[in-house]
């Protein structure tokens, strides 16, 4: 079974650090809302992008003007794709 983890707060929250500790191989992480600021932080994302697939919600990136500087290892997706990801994984774990 695989999980989709959503993270919705800025790197100051250390939510990713909590999430990483309990993530499984095959899981994916989706940054939404203030979580998208993680996608501009190579240091914060360095280790995680090697083990799990990382997404960011495009609407939230556009709003915050962070899309252009989003790391290559992050795939920007829209809300429709967010719904699909929920179907593709067996469950959704929300970190907020």
């Amino acid at each position: 079974m695989s999980s989709l983890h959503t993270i919705n707060r800025s790197p100051d929250s250390n939510l990713l650090e909590s999430c990483i500790k309990v993530v499984s191989a095959g899981d994916a992480i989706l940054f939404i809302e203030d979580g998208v600021y993680y996608c501009n932080s190579p240091i914060k994302l360095k280790t995680i992008t090697e083990t799990v697939k990382v997404y960011g919600l495009r609407e939230d990136m556009l709003t915050r003007a962070t899309l252009a500087k989003t790391m290559d290892s992050v795939e920007a997706i829209d809300t429709a794709r967010f719904v699909e990801l929920c179907c593709e994984h067996d469950k959704v774990v929300s970190w907020f």
Partner: protein, 129 residues
């Protein structure tokens, strides 16, 4: 696929309620079923009817209500959260002798049993907080 959403966040104060609404609209548009909305904690404010939102701003409560009615979605406001936050449906308003219901009629006040039922009958439960 059958989804249920649990919403913990009040509208306006954080973005989470708006994200949940966009998610709900998108999943319905894709032909999935929204089995239940469960408003919990501060989330119950999404069902408030007494709100006045400026013309140039999104009216989240109204949009929730329209979505619920258009797609005949089962929408539950958790009773323990709702009472202490003053979001009451017709039944509760009458019971506690307030002159008017403060919740949209599209949602119903009920207990956590409805959350358990949603967990059992949904393929995915997604939390927004």
């Amino acid at each position: 696929m059958k989804f249920s959403l649990v919403i913990y966040a009040a509208p306006y104060s954080t973005e989470s309620a708006a994200t949940a609404l966009r998610f709900a609209k998108s999943l319905v548009l894709q032909g999935h079923e929204l089995y239940r909305l469960f408003f919990f904690g501060d989330g119950v404010h999404n069902a408030s009817k007494l709100t006045v939102v400026a013309q140039d701003e999104i009216n989240l409560q109204q949009q929730w209500s329209e979505l619920i009615e258009e797609h005949n979605i089962d929408s539950v406001i958790c009773v323990s959260s709702a009472l202490r936050r003053g979001v009451l449906d017709q039944t509760e308003a009458k019971r506690h002798e307030f002159g008017i219901a403060s919740a949209h009629e599209s949602s119903e006040v009920a207990g956590l049993g409805q959350l358990v039922d949603a967990i059992l009958h949904s393929d995915r439960v997604v939390n927004f907080g």
